[in-house]
């Protein structure tokens, strides 16, 4: 099938402003959703659901959150994992302390907690830019985790500081099996991704990008920097918070505050850089890449040279190749995998007449 938009004329602005203006993209999206919702639960085994798809979706959502902040609003943050922690612990406490609260409401409230904390730690962005801001967000990373460890109230005074996710039951449906967890995660992620897509293609997103590209000019055309930046921090943290709650409830079950460490924040940042800064889809491509690449290397290594070299060396070689591949991808396409996909599409649109 040809990827062409010839013959697809937009008769109205409404048509021109659809979420997927090109018909092939629409069809592709519907097919993908059909596959993810209707086919995957039946063909995927537990391994794929629980160790691959669920984490990729959750990390994709967290990466999307960071992408809103960094990719669209241009504010570099190294504290995403901490905002995930706020979401997870927030949701846990709402579930714990409010009897009979529906899970989705707790999830929303948990996300809102993360958003509030996000605004607080976003305040420096009004005066600090670039790497200074990035390092300042580390304050959030370390401080939040410290608070969650230090004050037992957050983990309901569990001796080991961990929280154990309650069972999720929505309208009588039990989300215990991997398939159900996958479907719930997928639903939340898809809905939130579409909402994000809508935000970035409307005035909200334009304001973010304006602040990102040239803040002085943005201010001069009447965009309020403070409000826009804090809004980006809030929404970004909300997304991270929801991702964190899903991480606890749909993925791991029991989580400790230290699980949301700096390493995780870096991984999320990696996802958007590799996937594509300022791209919704890139967030998910990046998440898939960063979650799966080490696994792929691990499997590939142990099946090939694993038998011939000491295990220590094999693990180090994995790390070396992981690092080298990241460098390689950034050199080949500094704008991320999403850009590669976009370029391919552009070529396809013009093919076979490239000019």
């Amino acid at each position: 099938m040809f990827y062409r938009e010839a013959g697809q004329f937009k008769a109205s602005y409404q048509n021109d402003q659809q979420i997927f203006p090109i018909r092939q993209d629409q069809i592709g999206f519907i097919a993908l959703m059909g596959f993810l919702f209707l086919v995957v639960p039946f063909i995927a085994n537990q391994y794929w659901l629980q160790a691959v798809l669920i984490p990729v979706l959750i990390f994709g959502l967290a990466a999307l959150g960071l992408n809103i902040l960094t990719g669209y609003a241009g504010q570099l943050s190294l504290g995403s994992a901490a905002f995930m922690a706020v979401g997870a612990f927030g949701t846990y406490n709402f579930m714990l302390r409010i009897d009979g609260i529906p899970f989705l409401v707790a999830l929303l409230l948990g996300g809102l907690c993360a958003a509030a904390i996000g605004i607080l730690f976003g305040l420096p962005s009004l005066r600090i830019k670039g790497f200074y801001l990035a390092v300042a967000t580390l304050a959030a990373q370390f401080f939040i985790v410290w608070v969650l460890v230090k004050f037992g109230w957050f983990s309901n005074y569990s001796s080991s500081g961990v929280i154990t996710a309650q069972h999720v039951n929505i309208l009588g449906v039990d989300f215990r099996s991997p398939e159900m967890k996958y479907l719930l995660t997928l639903t939340v992620v898809v809905v939130m991704a579409l909402l994000a897509k809508n935000m970035v293609r409307s005035s909200t997103g334009r304001k973010w990008m304006a602040v990102r590209d040239m803040d002085v000019a943005a201010e001069v055309i009447g965009i309020r920097l403070m409000r826009t930046k804090l809004q980006a921090f809030a929404i970004s943290s909300f997304y991270c918070g929801v991702a964190g709650a899903l991480y606890a409830y749909m993925y791991l079950g029991t989580v400790e505050p230290e699980g949301f460490n700096l390493d995780m924040s870096f991984r999320i940042l990696f996802m958007i850089i590799i996937g594509g800064v300022g791209s919704i889809m890139g967030s998910f491509i990046g998440a898939a890449f960063i979650v799966l690449l080490p696994v792929f290397l691990n499997v590939a290594f142990h099946s090939t040279i694993g038998a011939y070299v000491p295990a220590d060396l094999a693990s180090n070689l994995e790390l070396i190749i992981f690092g080298a591949l990241i460098i390689f991808f950034l050199i080949v396409e500094p704008h991320g995998l999403a850009r590669l996909w976009q370029l391919t599409k552009e070529k396809l649109r013009l093919w076979p007449f490239p000019h």
Binding site: Q46, Y47, Q50, A51, V52, P55, F59, L96, W146, V149, K150, N156, S159, S160, G161, V162, T164, Q166, H167, Y251, L252, G253, T254, V255, E256, P257, E258, G259, D263, V291, P294, V295, F296, N298, V299, A300, H302, S303, G306, P310, A311, D312, L313, S315, N316, E318, L319
Partner: protein, 440 residues
């Protein structure tokens, strides 16, 4: 052409991903979620090395367990929770019976798979780490925090200090400094220390060290000001040598510092140099190669050049020997299960669970294994998944560890009751009905 090659490579890897191992039906498979890189790679390499060497030795010397060869597969977790879960899921259906035990050597990963092991019917053994209240087998049938929990350890350390002081009654009025890693792991010590302080009339001064703990000037100056009679070092990783070094430079006597078992390996004292001479730490296995079991590994594995440790000098180190303890417990559980369910075939996860739950490694058995004094005796029951709770204390003389105590237990009654309470709270929160052990 290049593309096709890539495609074939991808296909090959994909096959490995999905297809289960083509291993003979007579093999007992275990998946090892090891870590050999990252901040704790040194510990992971030693511990999993010891375990693998022991299994290798059993295969070489005995031809497996009652004729069932042991096979294993490593999966690198990098001490990362998500990677650990992936390893768990990847390995759980491998081998003829699926994974027979999961042992991640990471409390974070332990928590991450806690719900899953019960559903997948794979026993999880966490020796010296993990979730403390899982020692209550009625609430956590699938989890085995064996030999000793953290709470028991805290109590055993206080018993050891009591011994040194000539009796528990002499602890009255003493001041104990608790220098702990500021994390969930470090916080495990608080409740039990508070209870013990109340019981024995000593005071506890808790001092937190922020992770990773490579700077402790402030903490040790506080200790210097307060001058506690003893300092318990509840550390991990680089925090340990830093603590010992800083103690020496602030003039705190090293022989008054007692470390936990994660502060008591060569890795923790060697970097501290002379400052560590005289430092004591708890452990459930001594260091050294003078045990028959280690000698057997030397003859049957390293002599044939099949050893797992790339640096053979680390054989016999505390963490390596701890890995051997893991191997012994694993193999003995297989033996126990086989005796009940039938020898000559690999055990399933459920059968393995039974094997762990009915494990009884007594003195005689230890002697037979060539592990007399190498690890404490261990009896697991349906209710008690911890076992003996016996620890030995070792002192570093600048070159090697020497055992300076007999096996010392914690206050079992106190610890058991705390475990019971905590597990009951968990059961209530999760809606679990504890099983009835008298019916087992």
């Amino acid at each position: 052409m290049k593309f096709r090659k890539t495609l074939m490579a991808v296909a090959a890897v994909a096959t490995v991903f999905t297809a289960s191992y083509a291993v003979a039906q007579q093999e007992q498979y275990v998946g090892l979620p090891s870590y050999r890189v990252g901040p704790f790679g040194a510990s992971g390499a030693a511990l999993y090395g010891g375990w693998i060497d022991y299994m290798n030795m059993i295969n070489e010397r005995d031809g497996g367990v009652n004729g069932v060869k042991l096979t294993w597969e490593e999966c690198e977790t990098e001490y990362n929770n998500a990677r650990g879960v992936e390893c768990y899921e990847r390995m759980k259906n491998r081998g003829p019976t699926g994974n027979s035990v999961f042992q991640p050597l990471s409390t974070g990963i332990t928590y991450s798979v806690l719900d899953r092991v019960a559903e997948d019917k794979i026993p999880m053994v966490t020796i010296g780490y993990g979730r403390t209240d899982a020692a209550d087998g009625t609430v956590f049938p699938w989890v085995f925090p064996m030999i000793s929990t953290y709470w028991n350890q805290a109590s055993a350390i206080m018993n050891y200090i009591g011994q040194k002081e000539g009796g528990m009654e002499n602890l009255k009025g003493k001041k104990i400094g608790l220098l702990y890693h500021d994390s969930a792991y470090g916080a495990e010590s608080h409740a039990v220390m508070d209870r013990l302080a109340e019981m024995h009339g000593f005071s506890v001064q808790k001092i937190a060290v922020a992770s990773p703990g490579n700077e402790q000037q402030a903490q040790w100056l506080q200790i210097r000001r307060e001058r506690p009679d003893y300092v318990i070092l509840w550390g991990w990783g680089v925090m340990n040598p830093t603590a010992i070094r800083t103690a020496s430079r602030t003039g705190y006597p090293v022989d008054k510092i007692v470390g936990v078992w994660w502060s008591g390996a060569e890795e923790d004292v060697v970097p501290a140099g002379d400052a560590a001479k005289g430092y004591t730490a708890a452990g459930f296995n001594p260091a050294g190669t003078n045990f028959p079991v280690i000698q057997d590994i030397m003859t049957h594995v390293y002599a044939k050049n099949r050893g797992n440790m790339s640096d053979q000098s680390r054989v016999g180190s505390v963490l390596y020997n701890r890995g051997v303890v893991h191997g012994i417990i694993y193999v003995e559980a297989i033996r126990t299960a086989q005796e009940n369910f039938g020898t000559g075939r690999p055990m399933t996860g459920e059968e393995m669970r039974w094997g762990f739950e009915n494990l009884n490694i007594d003195e005689a058995r230890l002697a037979a294994l060539g592990a007399d004094g190498f690890m404490p005796n261990l009896q697991i029951t349906c209710e008690d998944h911890e076992g003996s709770g016996l620890l030995k204390f070792q002192q570093w003389d600048g070159e090697k560890w020497t055992v300076v105590s007999d096996w010392i237990s914690g206050d079992r009654e106190l610890v058991r009751s705390m475990i019971k309470d905590s597990a009951a709270a968990y059961a209530a929160e999760k809606g679990i009905t504890p099983r009835d052990c008298s019916a087992q």
